[in-house]
Structure formats: C-alpha cells, structure tokens
C-alpha cells in the first residue's frame, strides 16, 4: 500500500482518517507539506522515505530541541536513521494532534525522552532531557551540582518502585498530575 506523491486515493484517505487522530483536512495538508519535501524524481516513487535532515527543515520542527528524537521515534526504517515515510509522518502528526488521547501522548513522550531506547528513563536520559529543556547557552544550563539534585528529586518524586529509573507507568502517573500536558504536547501544521 504505497502512496504516490501526486495524490492521495480516496480509500487510502478514509483509512488514514479512521486509523489516526487527524481530520481529512489535516491529512491533506500533511500530504501537501510532505510532497514539498520530496525531490522531483522522488515524487514518482511510491512510499518514499525522506531522510531526517529534510524533515528537520520543517518550520514546526526546526527549532525544537527534541527534533532528532522525534524523528527517531516515529521512524520505521531498519537502519534507525530517523527517515520518515508519509505514513510515519502521519503517525507523528496524529500523536501530536488535538484529539490524541493522553495515553498515546504520554507513550510517545516517554519514547522521545528515552534517549538510549532502553525502555526506562535513567539518570543519563534525565540529564539529557534537562539539558534539552534548558537550552544550549552556558547561563541557562544547570551546574553539575544542580543537575544531581534535580535528578535525585525527580527520582524521589516519580520512582515508585525505587529501582532508580522511571518506567512507562511511573511516567504516565506523573503526567496525569499535570493538566497542561495535553495542550503543550501539540504540533499543528
């Protein structure tokens, strides 16, 4: 089931609409933006895979500190290089859409924050996460001491089984305490 870049078939469109949280207009807009990323000869091939560098030129992702992780998580490529097909792109938009459920959003947020892909957030993951949040400049980065304290505090608050890492259920438990999460975990094209 491939999609040629020129247009989206009606059956395929309704299938995408049923299986994702996107509306028809959003899917068509996504298709338009995706085909803009393709080169001329790629447009004719079905199911083309766009490398991560081109995906990251999208304005919605360009300045996001988590952009590389986002591409990596939603990519289904076997080389794990972060390249996305159109269906991966739709997955991305669906998880970040308005109507996605809290479970889906927290699931993907967990995978995005899991920098070493081992299924839990340990100290290294948390440190990288905080560094992404606070930015690149020296004045905003936390000192080593502050980072240590912060990570200890985070683990104390969220690690219920005290194994030193935050797994998916604990993460979802923390997320459920914040009513702002659903509205901030959104990307709209």
């Amino acid at each position: 089931m491939g999609t040629t870049a020129s247009q989206l078939g009606k059956d395929l469109l309704s299938e995408y609409q049923e299986l994702t949280f996107l509306t028809k207009q959003e899917i068509l807009l996504a298709h338009k933006r995706f085909t803009e990323l393709l080169t001329k000869d790629e447009k004719d091939l079905p199911n083309t895979r766009v490398p991560a560098e081109r995906i990251l030129t999208l304005p919605e992702l360009k300045s996001n500190p988590f952009r590389k992780r986002i591409c990596h998580v939603f990519s289904t490529s076997e080389q794990k290089d972060g390249s996305l097909t159109f269906e991966d792109f739709l997955d991305l938009l669906s998880a970040f859409s308005d109507s996605a459920t809290l479970e889906i959003k927290s699931h993907y947020a967990f995978r995005i924050f899991d920098f070493d892909d081992d299924g839990t957030l340990d100290c290294g993951d948390l440190e990288k996460l905080v560094n992404c949040l606070t930015g690149e400049t020296d004045e905003t980065r936390l000192t080593t001491e502050e980072m240590r304290q912060l990570i200890n505090n985070i683990l104390e608050e969220s690690d219920i089984d005290k194994d030193g890492t935050v797994n998916l259920s604990e993460f979802q438990h923390v997320i459920s305490r914040s009513p702002d999460f659903v509205s901030s975990f959104k990307i709209v094209l």
Binding site: K24, E87, D88, D117, T120, E157
Partner: protein
Amino acid sequence: MAYSVNICQMDSESDFENLGESEPGQDSFQLVAEPAVSTQRCPQTLQMDVFRECTRINTEQLPLTASGHMRDETLDREQMNSLQRHRWSAATLKVLASMPSRTAGINSAAVIPRHARNLSRLHQHQTCQDSSQPSRPMQEDFVQANIEEELSNEENKKEQLVSILRGLSVSEGMSKLRASPLSLADKMEVRQLAFSDVAESSLIRNIPCYSRLSMSVSRTWHHCLFSCLPVLTSLQLWHSPIKRLSGRFGTGVLSYFLFLRTLLLFNLLLFVINGLFLVFPQAVNPPPRPHDSDLNNFTGLELLTGTGYLSQSVMFYGYYTNTILKNCRAVNSTAAESPDLPVCDSNKPQKVLYSIPAAYFFTIAIAFFTICIILVYSISKAFGRGFQVLKSNGNLAVKVFCSWDFKVSKKTSVRLQSEKISTQLKELLSEMFHGENKKSCMQRLCRLMVQLVAWAACLATIFLSAMAVHYLSEDAIKSSPLKETELLLLAAVVSGINLLLPGLFNLCAWVENYDSPSVLVYVSIFRNLLLKVTIVGVLCFRWLGRIAVEPKRYGLQCWETFVGQELYRLLLMDFIFTVLYTFFGEFLWRLFTKQVLKRNRMPVFDIARNVLELIYGQTLTWFGVLFAPLLPAVQIIKLFVLFYMKKSSLVLNCQASRKPWRANQMTTFFISLLCFPSFLGAAVSVTYTIWTIKPSSGCGPFRNLTTMFQSGQQWAQELENAHPILSWLSRAYNSLLENPLFLFLAPGVFLMVIYFHTQVIDGQRRIISRLEKQIENEGKDKQFLITNLQAIHERSGLVSP
C-alpha cells in the same frame, strides 16, 4: 525445575556469547544467544537453566540477605539500592532490559518476525560454514528453535490483538485500534486481519433484504456523521490566527484569546435568543410613534450616548410595548394604529398570539438560566481537569516532564522558553536546598511595612474613586436637562479609572517585590477585581437604589431606558479607551523605549489585566440585557474588533513573558471569576429588579404592573384560564417552589451527596498510598532477586562481572 524462557534476536550479527560449558548438574544459568544492541522492540525472554535442584537452595545458601548485605563480603550500599548499571554482567543487563515493565509500551508486533526471519536465515547459512566449535551447532539449533518460537509468540500477540478487536463492535474496535501505539503500517495490517473477516462473514450469511438495507443506511449515516464532525470542528472561529499566536507566545497568551472567543460565543447565544424571541417580533410590529420625538436630527454623538434616535429604537427597553401581538386587529381599534392588519372576525378563532411582556420576561429568564447552566458545566469540567486525588509532594518531576510547549516554533520564543524553564528550575532547586532566605528581623519588618503601605494606598485609591463616581453621578443627575456631552462624562471617568488604576496597582506590586510570581499575579488580580466590583456596585446602587426608586425626581419618563443608555455608554467608552490605550500605551511606549531609552525590551502582555477587563465588560452586558436587549450585539462587535486589535498589538509591540504562567489553573480561575462575581452579581441584580422594583408606567412592556415578575404570573394565570387542564401545573408550582420545606430539602440532599463524594475521595487517597507502598515493596523484591541471581552467577564463576 528449569524455567525456560526464550530470547529473540534482533541483530544480524552472529555474536554469540559463549558462556562456557553448560554442565547439567550445576545450578547455574546459561544464556543462549543474545543481541548486542537495543532490546527496544523485542520483548525478550531469557533462557535460564537455574534452580535445577531448587530444593537444595534455601535462604542460607543465598549469597545476599534481604537487607542487601553479602554474607561473606560487603557490597556497596548504593548498588543494592538501585538497579543501575554498575557492576552487572551482560546477562543480568539483558534480564533487566527484558523485564515487562521496561517493554510495556513497545508494541510493534510486526517488526520482529521480519528481523527474526532474517536472522534465522543468516544462522542457517552460518552453521554450514562454521563447524569449528562443537557446541555451536547445538546452540544454533536451539537458537533456531527459539527464533521460530519467538516468531510464533509475536504472531500470537498480533492474533491476540486481532481477536480482541473482533470481539468489539466495529466503531469500538476502530477507536481502540486508533488509540494503540502501533505504527500506521502495523495498524493497517491488524485492521485488515480483524475487520475484513467480519465483512466477509456477514456477506456469507443470508441476510434478508430489509436488514441489509438498514445496515447500508446506518453505515452511510455513520460515514456522514464522521465526515461532518471534523468539518464542524475546523469551522472554529479564528483557528489559524490563534495557532500562529500560540506558536510565538505560548500557552499563556493563548488562554486570553480562547477566553475572548468563549465570551463571543456566549454573547452570540444571548443575541440569538433575544433576537429570535424578542427583537424580531417587536421589530416586525412597531409600536405607534410618540408625539414628542425629534428624529430628524441624527447626529453622530447619538451613537455614543444612545439618546435621540436610538432611544426610540428596538435597542432599548422603552420601545417595547405591553401589547399582545395578534395577526388581526381588534374591531374597535382605529385604522391609524395598526393599518396593515385585517379586522378580527370574532367568529374565527384567534391564531397567532404573542404577548410581548410575557415574551420579554421569559426570554430574559431563560437566557440567564441557559448561561448559568453552561457556566456551571464549564467550571465543573475545568475543576475536574485540574483536580488530583493525591497531592504530590513536589512538582519538579511534573515541571521537567510536562513544561515544554511543543507548539512554540519561532526560534526566539524557543530560546525564551528554555530560559524560562531554566530560571524556574534553578529557583525551585535553590528554594528547596537552601530554604527560605533567612532574612533578618529588620528586613522582614521593613518588608511588612512596605506591603502594608502599598495595600493601604491601593484600598484608599479604590475608596476615593468609588466616592468620586458616586458624587459625579449624583451631580450629573441634579442638572436636569442633560447635555449630551455631560452624559458621556460619567462613562469616561469610570473607564479612565478602570484603565489607570490597575497600572498603579501593578506598580505597587512591583515595589513590594513579592517572592513568588504566582502570589504577585493573585495579588494584582485581587486588587483589580476589588476596584471593578466597587465601581460596578456603586453604579448599581445608583441605578437601582436611586433612579429606579424615584424616577420622577430625576425627571425621567422611562428610567429603564436611561439605565440601558448608561450601560451602553459605559461599554462604548470602555472600548474607546481600550483602543486608545492599545495604540498610545503599547505602541508609543515601544517607540519610546526603542528610540529614546534604546532598550530592547518590549512590554509584556499583561494577561490578568486584559482578562479582567473582558470580565468587566461581560458583567455590564449581562446586567444590561434586561434594559437594552440588543446590548449583546454591541458586545459582539466590540469583542470582534478587540481580537484583531489585540492580536496586531501583541505581534508588533509585545514579547513573550519571562514569568511562568500556569495556563490551566489560571483559565479555571478566570472562568470561576466569570461565574461568581460577574454572572452571579448580574443575575442577582436582574432578579432584584424583576422581583421588587416597580417598572415605569409610561413606557416598556411592563407598564401598569407593580413588578415585572407579575407579567409572568399573569401569563401563567391566563394560560390556566384558557386550558384548565394545566391547573395541576400551577398547583405543583405553588406547592413545590414556594414551599420553604422543598427549598430546604433540595440543598440538604445536595449537601449529603457532596459529603459522600468527599468521603469517597478520602478513601481513594488511602488506597493510593497503600498501593504505592506495595509497589515499593515489589521493587525491593525485584532488586533482591536480581542481585541474588547475579551473585550466584558470580559465585559459580561462569561469567566475569
């Protein structure tokens, strides 16, 4: 007893970790094949040939006690306390990585078989080539069997999902599939498996014609519904401007514009209700013109003051008649009064009867009731979203995990957001670890003095402004033939006070230098609110307490129209002053700071102040609906223009705030402000007016009645007379609503329900804390087991740690 578990291979490398001789007699565990890389997508399982003779193993033989101390060695305490990768062997790491809690979310069922299949082919290839190590073929066969078993395991998993989906109805199954975290390709595969069979099996059976038709009808209906719904949601007003603003300024400013949109929808609802049932019938049947009207000279100023032409229009209360609209006129009425209607024939039954007084009363009542219901519903939803059963002991984790706003796309805004988060985290950390700043007694006293002075100053200014409004209003009324410009003076003064004093309050708050930004926000909101409540209270007293009681003293024929006009003027002046402030205040201030002061900091959009202004305008509208039924239309126009004006001012002049803004909490707070002081105050005033105040006898639909409420009673009486069947309704009404016992009983029942709910929540809290303890114990068990296994392993010396 051997526990056998399988490992599935992800890697195409044939990297077998040879664990040495696996002697059957020993209690050791051996691993068969393992990947070298991420175990992410593969729910792995481990082949353990442990506890072969488990009866021999009792606690004395375990190398580690439950408290984590080695029996014959001492181990690092920290290692015991966490399952961090300190000195675990690769085998233990694999066990850890394949635990269900770490593979819970990863559900990509379709990827594994492909990889495993590739791997199995590779291994087959290798066994042919490599025959040096005798143990290898055995292991590879084993591996082969494992891979196939794993393949079948994964197929089982997909089969499971498919069978679950088949058990549900199509729509439920689709929504469950949509909400599962698989990739789109996997979802399409599962869907094909699950639902194509359903379609096939339904065709195979012999379905009678009519049910097939009904099935196709329901299918098309569902299809229509699901395709209409997205269209309706995308018709949302101002969708793209709001998205652009949120991309640049974040969620805080977004909440202001969403609030504005909500208010617009409220006013639209009010306008539609009023328009359909009140304005339209009266506009279609205009009353006869009074003799002393001077409609010839229509000046532009009249648009501002609401006098002259507008006062004789459908805009204000005075226009409405206390007649009953019929589609024919009475026999003895003159042709001049209602020239278009044919004369009533007493033999024919009267057709369209529309009583304007009753319509006025019931329209207003029903509009208020509807809005009350909508507000209470939205407050309860907002509270429900923010309510947590168990209060957490800190919010650092929440802040780290949930505070990044992914909508923000502009580079400078992203940088600003990072700075904001960094500042917040640093402040929280320093607060936590260095405690409150130990201030000396003198400093604390000083700070207390400053705060007292600031509060006294604010309260004094509020009091003074209220007095000023009071005296000005008394003065304005005394000079009886009112010039038009003088009428505007009161409205201008009120708007000016509302504009300038909040700036003063902000300055006071800045001087006071509060520690936490949220306290600052709440203090300034409270002062602003107090000011507005005082001013509106003084004005209400003036209207209802003075003018309505003795209208003749003020030379007013129609006091309701006058009150309506005052409210109209207040709304307009408020709007004009806001426009002037936005233009002069923000734009010129920006030019000033850029050109003269040469600073790059632009003013920050003060969300709280702007929202309170919106609430103030809405209060006036709600109060004024009784006296000027078209006031919601004015408010709609005002809000519409305000949206575009504030948006462009924001984009040109302001920058995103550095201070944190808890959007959800503040939105809940603003909606509850909208309900409690604002709507409740307006509703109470309107109820008071309807219930007790005598309407003016010269104009309006309620002339010749003692109170406006009487019109409702009269209408009910007439209805009862016309249809005696309905007398039971009036008897029920009298016995229930006017019976004090019922009035006590209903709140009593509500209070009991609330009490039960709070008890339930308490119980839930206790259960949650018990469950947390239990999870902690399970975690300790897990650590205990893994460390013991590792220690046994090390002790038997098969694998170097």
